[in-house]
Symmetry: C2
Subunit: 335 residues, 2 copies
């Protein structure tokens, strides 16, 4: 079983019991999305949709709904829709990264080639659009569309800014906001819109989602350098080595240890793979991870400030636990 | 200058003057769609969007609007939106087909690799969704989403049914309905919805679009076997040779000339490239093209039956000219 942020949460935190049945419903709704497709398409999508995802984004939808009046059928559909969108982006990501496995399963590109993987990703995206069109109103659709565009733009930017020495830390934050935090923000703001909360509260929850998404990507970027592949269920250490300028890489380039800073800057300038095995024992490396984790925790703390604006409820408590659990995961990267 | 169905129409038919200014506006709207993207994404999209497309789908939107009360600003945006959707599918198609040039220009995959091409296609699709969200109502969005899903499904099916001996001619028609005719159908039904025509008329015009799209794909499939690459501005003879079972291939497999039928069936069974230079001089080949063209012309005739339901107008006359011009192009393939 792959490492699962959400399953760990579920095991450790009874609060997540709150939405266990709803998450099962989300899984059923996702499984049913292959039904409109014909017999020469369906088997491929079935294989893609059976993946054992962490359902973090559906979890956020459901907990936001639970914190603001309760989970409705629309929230279940919306949660499934966001997971489909996420799956579409993973399928295209795996083509880009030439990844062979994800969540301990062969990727679509490994199974059937890049060509079909591209089209299957497109089909998932289109089906997500169909699901979206069954929900909410034009304002809701507009937010979904803008979010999807941000997601795509973040992906393009990540691809065109590999080894880009002109990239700043501010650029990094904006890039991961688009690439990762958009779906977290859509999860929370969308759930709030389906709950018919006022615009101000929708914006607040969108901001909370953005903060959580950024913290989650920082955690993922730290894990890429500190985690074990067995536990993560995917290839690690490749993002930063292959020219993605992640937060720990920025801190390494800014390190007070001139040796380390020079080495990492030199690699980036020459577009050479960074040898992290060489760096892992150094104080500078631990410092870079610690500073990154601090940045993540600053964002979960800010997210909780938004959360306390909601009235007390089991849903709110579960969302708070989620943020504390993310803090723990960030801590784990430092040890 | 690439061969252009629409430009030929424009040169030969004064009727197309009717929407010349509107088509220029559509070009400007498309050019402006790169503006929301940041500096590390925009230059790539600018390059993709500057392509000299035939604007057949926008033309259909505008002529449908002109035939049903006049072209509005919404029709201009919608026409641009459909062209973006079409461009997104071309960008992904070129990745699939490993095509180096289209419309006499290097393809995105040739310029920047498959990875970025996939993401740029996604970005065009997302931007099309944003444009869609500025138009119409939820019913309109729903039709757009279902259409996009059909388009994707057709593409997947085309990819999974290469060399598929179990494919029938009925399957071929259903496949090209999804893959090609969907956008034609969306053009006409969408224009009608924005004109607030009643559901029955929207359905009629959708049917007309479907018929024109199928006829157009039959023409394209004939051109693939009979055209000259210089004139077409793209690589020809590859679709059928590489296992796409197009209408002329079906007729060749069903030919009364046993030699030809056996040869083509043998190639398909063995998944071997069909050598069309060998077939081109034969009566069976001409017969297959003629029968395909007849099927195309049957559909343009049926499309005109729908068209005559509209009140007489310059727009209707221009749409009729478009169908006659398609007949001429189908005829040209037979000579």
């Amino acid at each position: 079983m792959a490492f699962s942020f959400f399953n760990k949460l579920r095991d450790k935190r009874e609060h997540l019991k709150l939405i266990r049945d709803e998450l099962d419903k989300v899984r059923s709704v996702i499984a049913r999305q292959v039904e409109p497709f014909g017999p020469h398409v369906r088997p491929y999508l079935e294989r893609v949709c059976r993946g054992r995802g962490k359902l973090i984004r559906p979890g956020l939808v459901l907990l936001t709904a639970a914190s603001t009046g309760g989970v409705t059928e629309k929230h279940i559909t919306f949660a499934a829709m966001l997971e489909m969108l996420h799956m579409a982006s993973l399928v295209h990501d795996d083509v880009l990264d030439k990844a062979d496995t994800r969540r301990d399963e062969a990727t679509p590109n490994a199974l059937w080639g890049n060509e079909l993987a591209v089209l299957l990703g497109d089909s998932l995206l289109a089906q997500a659009m169909v699901m979206g069109s069954e929900l909410g109103d034009m304002k809701f659709i507009r937010r979904l569309s803008l979010g999807t565009r941000d997601l795509c733009e973040g992906e393009v930017e990540q691809s065109t800014r590999l080894w880009d020495m002109e990239m700043t830390r501010a650029d990094y934050y904006e890039l991961i906001r688009k690439k990762t935090a958009t779906l977290f923000a859509m999860a929370m703001s969308g759930a709030a819109m389906l709950q018919e909360l006022d615009d101000e509260m929708v914006d607040h929850l969108e901001r909370m989602g953005t903060l959580l998404g950024i913290a989650y990507q920082i955690y993922d970027d730290c894990l890429d350098l500190t985690g074990s592949e067995d536990v993560a269920g995917k290839t690690l250490g490749t993002d930063a080595a292959k020219g993605k300028l992640t937060l720990p890489v920025f801190f390494l380039m800014e390190s007070s240890s001139d040796d380390v800073a020079d080495y990492v800057r030199g690699c980036v300038e020459k577009r050479e793979e960074i040898d992290f095995t060489r760096l892992r024992g150094t104080d500078a490396f631990h410092e870079a991870i610690r500073m990154s984790a601090d940045e993540g925790r600053a964002r979960t703390a800010e997210a909780r400030e938004v959360l306390w604006m909601l009235p007390e409820s089991d849903g709110r408590a579960a969302l708070a636990e989620m943020t504390y659990r993310l803090d723990e995961l960030l801590d784990d990267c430092c040890n």
